[in-house]
Amino acid sequence: MSIDFAQLITTIVNDQDLIAKVLLLIFMSLYVFFAIILLTQVKHLSKIVDQISVTPIIKGISALHLGASLVLLVITIFI
């Protein structure tokens, strides 16, 4: 049993893809959280300073940034 466990650990440690994937998942989850905060703040700040021709574009880019973060997170989960 202990030999199997040691083998398992060795396999995990030697599997660089698995380690990289786990780290990516952790950092991407945090990044999605950051992207949500960024989008929320941009929406709030748009009320303070509203430049009619530019503000919707900044909001759109922030939403796109969040969307890209989510897509990348999903791809990492299923790859």
Partner: protein
């Protein structure tokens, strides 16, 4: 002895009275009026007179924005250079990859890491631009409004009526600030009202002159 002392004091008093009178005359001199033109407003505008197509949160109906002030465009150069460096770094590192010891990541994982890296770079650019863009000051026909954004989760908006402004000054220290004509503007208000600092503002002398003339007009 006493008489001499008294006369001396009297002379001193007279002199100081003259000085006060001179100061009074100086203070009553009104700055020449400033003519404001209409400037086109772009996403990169750091200074705009009578800007069209912009409003702020607490703007009253009929309140006209006379001036929009953001930090001078040149102050964005450091983060733009950092962003460019971050963008070109991965292609420069690719030739070095074979020399990295014991790194055997599959192509999909490498692609994901690269995509995540560029996502973070785009996030960095977005945050820096948002911080510059929303850090704006407005001079309207009745008051001054200053929105301070520090970091992505701190915001502070302060305002003061033009007739409550006591003193407007600016500093321009350093060769870069003089070369690109930007500096820090300080607006002192009466009583317990908050004072304003418009940092790295373009054309500070002109803005100070403009606020001064608006203040005099209000009084």
């Amino acid at each position: 002895m006493d008489t001499e002392s008294l006369s001396g004091e009297f002379i001193l008093e007279k002199k100081s009275a003259e000085t006060i009178e001179a100061k009074k005359i100086k203070n009553t001199e009104e700055p020449p009026p400033v003519k404001l033109s209409h400037n086109d407003l772009h996403f990169y505008s750091s200074y705009s007179e009578r800007p069209q197509g912009i409003r702020f949160e607490s703007q009253y109906q009929g309140e006209e924005i006379l001036l929009l002030i953001r930090a001078a465009q040149i102050t964005n150069l450091p983060w733009i250079l950092v962003a460019l460096l971050l963008i070109i770094t991965p292609p420069l590192l690719v030739p070095l990859m074979p020399f990295l010891p014991n790194l055997a990541l599959s192509t999909p994982i490498q692609t994901l890491i690269l995509a995540f890296y560029y996502l973070m770079v785009s996030g960095f650019i977005l945050v820096e631009f948002v911080l510059w863009y929303f850090n704006a000051g407005f001079v309207t026909n009745t008051r001054i409004v200053d929105a301070d954004i520090e970091g992505i989760i701190y915001k502070h908006v302060s305002e003061a009526k033009l007739d409550l402004i006591q003193d407007v000054s600016y500093t321009q220290i350093g060769a870069v600030r003089n070369l690109f004509n930007y500096g820090d503007i300080f607006i002192q208000t009466a009583g317990s009202l908050p004072n304003f600092e418009v940092l790295k503002a373009p054309r500070p002398a002109h803005i100070v002159h403009l606020i001064e003339s608006l203040r005099v007009d209000k009084k």
